[in-house]
Structure formats: C-alpha cells, structure tokens
C-alpha cells in the first residue's frame, strides 16, 4: 500500500474548481514533485495535504489512514514555504525551535536539536540573528532547518528555491537531493521549474488547470509524455513539436513536413516500429504533431549514414548554429516551426548550409493537433 495517497481530490474556491479529481500516490521515501504552470493548483494541493486548506471531495490518506479533519499539526508534516515564512520577531534559533516550544519539548533538548540542525545546514553562526539580517540563501537554509529539526512523516516544499538566484538554486537543489537520499524521507515538492522536477523527483505529477496530466517517473515523463501539454512543458530545451502529415507510400508510412522554398521533408517510418504503425495507421492523410527531443535529432557524416533500426535521415538547411559549451544546437525550419537539433560540441555543422540530419523515429511521439492527445 502506498504511503501517501490522494484520491479523487476536489477543491473549489467559490465557484472556481481548482483541483479536479486528482489521483496521486507515493511510497515511503519517495520524492514526489508537483509541477505545472503558475496558477494550476500546485500550492492548493500541497496546502490540502498539509491540512491548511479544507477539501471539497475525495480523500488524502497517510499510511492508509484518512487525514480528513486532522489539524495541520496533528498530521506530522513539515513545510517549507516559498517566502520562507520566517517569524520576523524571533531569532533564527527560536524560529527553528518554535514548533518544539509549542509542543513543550524541554529547553535543553530544543537547544540540542537546533544545534544539530544548524550544523547540518551550516547556519550555526546565524542562530542569534533575526530573519531581516539574513540574505535570501541564508533565509532559505533557516526555513529548511525549521522543517528538518523535526522528523516528520512527510516534508512539504512549496517552490522553496524560486526566490534564489540561478547559481544558489542549483546548489540548493543538489543539497536537497542529498538530504533526501541521506534521510530517506518522503517529500512532496512543488515547483513550476521542470528542470527541478526532472532532477529531484522519483515521481512527477504534471498539473494543468487543476487536472492531472500525467503521473509517472521522470524518465517516463520525458520519453513517453501522455499528451502534447506534458511534451511541451517538460524538458529543456523543449521538445520539437512539428506539424506534419501522415502519408502512405506502398505498404509503409511516411511523415511529411513542409519546408520553405523546397519539397517537403519525407521521413519513411521503418517497418520495425510497430508502435508507430499501430498508432498512425488509421491517420493517413491527416495532420499530426510530430514530437522529437532535440537529442533525438543528430548529425550524419553522409546521406544514408545512420539509417537502420529506428533512425532515418534527411538533408536539411541549417539556419543557425548555437554552440553551448558541451553541446551545439543547430536550428532548421520544418512544418513552419523552428526545429532544434542537439549535436556534439565538436560538430562540423555550419550555418546557412545543407547537412544531413538523422531522426531517431523510435524515440518520436505523435499528438492530435486538435486536443493534444497522444496518438503514438
């Protein structure tokens, strides 16, 4: 049985339905990331788990027992807030110890716990200061300390890194990941940053307008997105989503993409890719959205090179080359949209010239243009 279970969860504010029948579950020690654009209901869901918001339907269970009606403090969860929510009138030490103070933990024990946590997070020298005397990164650490000082059954994080600068954000991300591995704690983590989601999660729940789009592991989300929204939202740089037409050529299928000033690029689907034949066979003559991760588009030394298995190739006009240190990104236009290929750093591709690109069709995905459902 799952450790934390969210069942058919409903929540409305006035007439506005903010959470629409969510079903999510996670095992003990899991790292669940709730991700989605701003306003999709992530914080509301997290607050519902914490008991800070009432729910209008469904249930939330922890270790098989319903949390409905339990006060936030009775749920044994710790939470880190986006604004850090440090008590401005208290010192760092008292901020961390406040929860224990309320529960009547003896002073000596409180002080020891604060010292331990301060050591873990390297904030020992800040204990006597007030929140207003701390930098953003230090506040973030104190907020973490307040959560870590207890050993709650679940840690809840609401966009804890979104107020930090880029460098600090990456550092803290690594640190949170390390903490998770060391403590083996169960974590529910909210972010709108899909990179954070991919790097931290054992499971990701993608939300949009309060509805669950996909709940899966990061690898599944990345390689096997449930719909166009997930494909577009997750991954950086984002997936190429190219308007294309499915054509029949003999007994094979062809993915055809228009190009400016030349014939359409036609990619023949290898017979071995049953998934594509099953999903697209009934769509001949129809338009689909052809999805390719940038790294699924590569570079071949010559035409024909790399063909075989699920990989086919085609010659394309390269418009732009962006070296990015470890990789080089090449941009061409297909089906009226810019398509990015991720090439090796030492790639010989140059701008404003023609090169043969390879398309790993075994990694391609297809969506219906109308409603974004996955076709293949």
């Amino acid at each position: 049985m799952s450790f934390l279970q969210i069942r058919d969860l409903e929540k409305s504010f006035g007439g506005l339905r903010v959470l629409k029948g969510l079903n999510i579950e996670i095992d003990a020690g899991g790292f669940l990331v709730l991700v989605g654009p701003s306003g999709c209901g992530k914080s509301t869901l997290l607050n519902a788990i914490a008991g800070l918001e009432t729910i209008d339907g469904g249930d939330i269970l922890l270790e098989g027992r319903s949390l409905t009606g339990l006060r936030p403090s009775a749920r044994d969860m710790a939470m880190v807030f986006q604004s850090y929510a440090l008590y401005p009138n208290m010192t760092v030490a008292r901020n961390i110890a406040f929860g224990m103070e309320i529960r009547g933990v003896p002073k000596a024990e409180r002080e020891r716990a604060v010292r331990d946590v301060a050591e873990t997070l390297q904030i020992g020298h800040l204990l006597k200061r007030r929140p207003s005397q701390l930098s953003g990164g230090q506040r973030q650490r104190v907020a973490m300390g307040r959560a870590l000082v207890r050993s709650p059954r679940v840690f809840l994080f609401d966009e804890p890194l979104s107020n930090l600068d880029a460098k600090l954000r990456v550092d803290m991300r690594t640190e949170i990941k390390r903490l998770h591995q060391r403590l083996g704690a169960t974590i529910v983590y909210v972010t709108h940053d899909q990179v954070e989601a991919m790097t931290l999660a054992t499971h990701i729940a993608v939300l949009r307008d309060g509805a669950l789009q996909q709940f899966a592991t990061p690898v599944e989300i990345y390689n096997d997105p449930a719909n166009l929204f997930v494909a577009d939202f997750m991954g950086s740089p984002s997936m190429n989503l190219i308007p294309a037409v499915v054509e029949r050529d003999g007994d094979g299928l062809v993915i055809s993409m228009t190009r400016a000033r030349e014939d359409a690029l036609r990619l023949r689907v290898p017979q071995g890719l049953r998934r594509l034949y099953d999903g697209l066979g009934g769509r001949v003559g129809e338009e689909v959205i052809f999805g390719m991760r940038p790294e699924a588009i590569g570079e071949a030394a010559e035409a024909g090179d790399g063909d075989g298995g699920g990989v086919v190739s085609g010659e394309c006009e390269i418009e732009l080359v962006e070296p990015a240190g470890s990789d080089t990104y090449a941009v061409t236009t297909l089906g009226g949209v810019e398509v990015t290929a991720r090439l090796r750093a030492e790639s010989g591709v140059t701008a404003a010239s023609r090169h043969v690109l390879t398309f790993a069709l075994d990694r391609s995905v297809y969506f219906a243009p109308k409603d974004g459902t996955r076709l293949a």
Partner: protein, 293 residues
Amino acid sequence: MSSSSRAPVVAPNRVLRACLYATLLVFAVYYLLPLYVMVMNSLKTLDEIRQGNMLAPPREWTVKPWGDAWSRAQIGVEATGLRPYFINSVLMVVPAVTISTVLGALNGYVLTKWTFRGANVVFALILLSCFIPFQIVLIPSARVLGFLGISGTTAGLVLIHIAYGIGFTTLFFRNYYASFPTELIRAAQIDGAGFFRIFWSILLPSSGPILAVSAIWQFTNIWNDFLFGASFGDFDSIPMTVALNNLVSSSSGVKEYNVHFAGAILAALPTLLVYVLSGRYFVRGLTAGAVKG
C-alpha cells in the same frame, strides 16, 4: 552648469522658499496663538485679566489659578477642583482604549486570516458603525445601560466607548493585517500554534505601529468626548470634559477666567502629551504596510 545660467534657476527658488516659510510661519503662529493666550492668562491674577489685554504676558506671575482649577474650584455642588473628574476620565479611558484596541485587533485577525463565508459583509457592517452619528444612539444606549444596571457609572461609559470604538479599531487592524503574510500564519499552524498563540506570538509582535495608531486614536476620541459623558455620566463618573464645562459655565459668583484657562489646559494636556510622545508612531503606522515575511 555655467554660473551665468545658474542664477536665474536658483533665484525664483529662493523667493519661493521664502514665501513658503513665511506662510508656514503665519500658520504656526495662527495655531499657536490660542495656546499662548491660554497659558499666559492662566498665569495672571484675575484683576490683571480684567484690566489688561489678552495677549500681554503677566506682569505678576502666579500659579494659583492652576492649583484652584486642579483642587479647589467649585464644580457642581462641591469645591473639589477638576482632580476627581480627571481620575474619572483616566478610569474610563484606560479600559475603554485597551479593550477596544484588543477587540479591534482580534477582529482584524479573524477578518483577514480566518476568513469565513460572509466575512466581508460582517466587515462592512462593523465599518458602518463608524458613520452612525452619536445623537442617534443616545436613547437606545441609555436603555441598554439601564437594562444592564450600569447607567451613570464609569463601567457604562466604558461600554459605550468600546462599542463605538470597535468600528475604527477593526478598520485599522483589518487593513494592517491584510498585508501581513498569510504564509507566516500557515507556518505557525504547521508548528502547532493555535488561534490565540498565533495572535500573541506571531501577529502582535509585528503590530507595534498599528497598536500605536489605534491607541492614540481611541485615547484622543474618548478623552475628548463630551456628549456621552454629559449624557451618561453621574456624580462619580463625570469625565474631565464635562467637569470643565460645569466649571466654566457655573453661574455662582465671579467668572474666574484664569482658573478656566488653567482648567482647559489641564483637560487638553493628556491628549497633547500622548500625541507628542507617540505621534511619530501614528504617522508611521498609518503609512506602513505590515511585515515582510
């Protein structure tokens, strides 16, 4: 900038500035003149007031009018001076200010952080009480006080002032707490703090400026109130303002203007002091948003 072009820029500036200061000075004198007249005449003998001009400083300084006003002047039937009524006022103002401020703070806390269906309607109704004229409630108030058996007592006056003050104090605290970060309340809830603990440990320590605003506002209004005091005060609960009126308008004997001036200053002194001592908190509280999280 060259020196030739500087002169025309600065000159009108100077003139403007001079005009500004002159105007300010005129207004300052205008506002201070009554106080000056009161202080000077409260330090003269009655004879001197009768002969001389009001603006002249005393030829013969005396503090006897102050002593008379405070403890010897005839007010009502007895020659007690203003002292007992000053004490009445203090006994009325302190609990009335404290309780109305505390209730306003609790109202503001509930209306912003523990909102319920219809909270805005409740707030609108509370706010409405700020706009009800005193005269309208006089008779209902008298009946309520009679029903409670506290007519003519200080407790009765305290109750009336609390009821009338809650609208204002609620408005102050609600607007202040509206910008108080809700995440702080939530963090405290997670930490296990309850309704009053959060109020006491999280909200109140950050409420200094608005507490000052509420206390000054209430103190000034209640201390200066005349109508309720005159309507509901009795022998042992008449406040300072009403006693001052009785002193000034008592028909027996000669009019001791110097004593009247001294008494008027005594009656105004507490509100003046409160404003001088904490006026800057008042300004700060009115302009400040709440704490950053």
